[in-house]
Amino acid sequence: MSDYAIQQIVNGLSLGSLYALVAIGFSLIYGVIRLVNFAHGDLMMVGAFATFGLIATDHVPWVVLPLLVLVAGFLSGGLVERLAFRSIRGAPMITGFIVTLSVSVALQNLGLILLGAQPRNFSFPAVFRERVALGGIDVAIIDLTIPAVTLLCAVLLTVFVKTTRMGIAMRAVSENTLAARLMGISINRVVLLVFGIGGALAALAGLFWGGKFGQIDPLMGFVPGLKAFVATIIGGVGSLPGAILGGYILGFAEVAFVGFLPAAYAGYRDAFVFGLLILILLVRPSGLFGSTEEERA
């Protein structure tokens, strides 16, 4: 394999990780309350600015920072649920869209008011931008850190969902809310937890996004959020492994599109992603890995 190809694979892995981190929350939320949450991507922005603010204080050690960002994401995810989404639970799907879209618009514009429209430069410690030799080629450490941490999160989350009492409860609620209530499960608490987890992972993605691309702004979250939704659809909405796999497939597809086609086409990458979406919806509406059973209304 050529160095160039390896470089592209590393790129695909790290971009795919970002999509996967956001897609997981999308998919969990949809799975549990059948809500398509357009505001989810904006939590990435919240995470990016939380990181920015924490770095600016100059007091937070580097090991602690991601943990604080996770906490910030968890709280914002939960707060959004509590303030805006709880009262529309069970409302028609379209009402759900409109409210999540409103929250997204509100978050973006609050960001504009509080933070200004100017993109901010993101300064990760130099270590992350250093390059290490890997199989003969140079790879930025950040591009290795992102997939490693994402993998760790995915494993922890899977273990949580598969084995813990709350994890099992989460799956129960997503299958049958009524029966879950009869077990004494508090639906409100489970939904809050799901939004919290989704928000935490999205915020972490925001931290990585800033580290990878070096710039953040209040509108940065929306389009990646939509793309994460595309990833979710690729993997089959509502499935955790599907969301992760979908994220990586999308990441690789995008990198391949930019990396292997003539440079003139690079500007069309977003068009390519949504073209891909329409293509996939056409061929396999329930996603590449979703079962048709997920397709119920």
Binding site: I88, T95, F97, V99, L101, L110, G111, L226, D270, I278
Partner: protein, 333 residues
């Protein structure tokens, strides 16, 4: 629906249309005679918002679809129209990639906007074939994606659009009376559709698609019709805008506009033409008033936050919007 007491004052649908025409003509004449340039521009933009909102309420309100793609179709319509109205002498410089066939074709705005609208309708037909069979949230995401696709194309096809720099010096051919006429025509069209049997069939699809299909209504065809027609009108309305402000960029019509249009029709009641008109008026004029506030206090973005919060509040307290499907003060035949 619960039967409600007949309002004391009510007119027939035809009378309502006549009344609207009268109000519109009065307002336009008044502004042409007494209004300042600023007021005329504000009126023109407001009327275009009404046109767009009414066309979206047909797509989303009548058949219960959820398209967010209006700005995509507007962008398409606008760029296509500008290709025909842009001063021929400056095309070689601004649009070097323009096909030879139309390099020297100059059309008056109404014709150019019609071509823009038809193009948008055509694209919508292809997209619709692909996504209208799927469930609601796919259409929502696909149409949002379409906005991004169209913006990306506009940004990259800079031999036609001048990319991010945008096209400037577009002739200001969209006079207030012309826009008023266009708005009137669109309102009339949607009004007629709603009160004709085809409109009732669309509403039946919205209420209960299964039941509608059982009585022989071809739901998919109606959704296609509503989607394509709505898109064509969006393309048409979008074509008017750059001819008011004289500038067109790939970001002229984006996600925020999409959101604002949805906000308008949701507040108006998704399916109520009068509701869409009233809400479009309120949001256009209210937004303009707030813009002053934004500038004074340097709070750019506060208007959007207010619109968003108001929309959430509206949905919580009045989930069916101001009027639901109804047309206030109009007798149902």
């Amino acid at each position: 629906m619960t039967p409600r007491a007949a309002p004391r004052f009510a007119v027939s649908p035809t009378q309502a249309l006549a009344l609207f025409t009268l109000l519109l003509v009065g307002a336009v004449v008044g502004l042409e005679v007494f209004g300042s340039g600023y007021l005329r521009t504000l009126a023109a933009l407001t009327l275009i918002n009404i046109l767009l909102a009414v066309s979206l309420t047909m797509t989303n309100g009548f058949t219960g679809l959820f398209s967010l793609g209006h700005p995509a179709f507007m962008t398409l319509g606008a760029y296509v129209a500008v290709m025909f109205t842009y001063p021929v002498g400056r095309r070689g410089f601004a649009m070097p990639d323009l096909p030879d066939m139309i390099r020297d074709v100059a059309l008056p705005l109404p014709a150019a906007a019609t071509v823009g609208g038809l193009t948008a309708g055509l694209v919508a037909a292809v997209i619709g074939l692909l996504v209208l069979r799927l469930r609601t949230h796919y259409l929502a995401v696909a149409t949002l994606g379409l906005i991004i696709v169209v913006q990306t194309l506009a940004l990259n096809l800079d031999g036609l659009t001048r990319g991010g720099r945008g096209l400037t010096g577009i002739p200001r051919e969209a006079s207030l009376p012309l826009i008023a006429l266009c708005t009137l025509l669109v309102v009339m069209l949607c009004w007629r559709i709603k009160h004709a049997s085809i409109g009732r069939a669309m509403l039946a699809v919205r209420e209960n698609e299964m039941a509608a299909r059982c009585v022989g209504i071809h739901a998919f065809r109606l959704k296609m019709l509503a989607f394509v027609l709505g898109a064509a009108l969006a393309g048409f309305g979008g074509a008017l805008l750059p001819h008011v402000v004289s500038v067109m960029t790939p970001k002229s019509f984006g996600l925020m506009l999409s959101f604002n249009l949805v906000a308008i029709i949701v507040v108006g009641g998704q399916g109520s033409v009068i509701g869409a008109i009233v809400a479009a008026l309120a949001i256009s004029l209210g937004g303009e008033a707030l813009r002053g506030l934004e500038e004074t206090f340097q709070l750019y973005g506060i208007t959007q936050v207010i619109v968003a919060v108001a929309l959430i509040a509206a949905l919580m307290w009045r989930p069916k919007g101001l009027f639901g499907l109804r047309e206030p003060l109009v007798r149902t035949p």
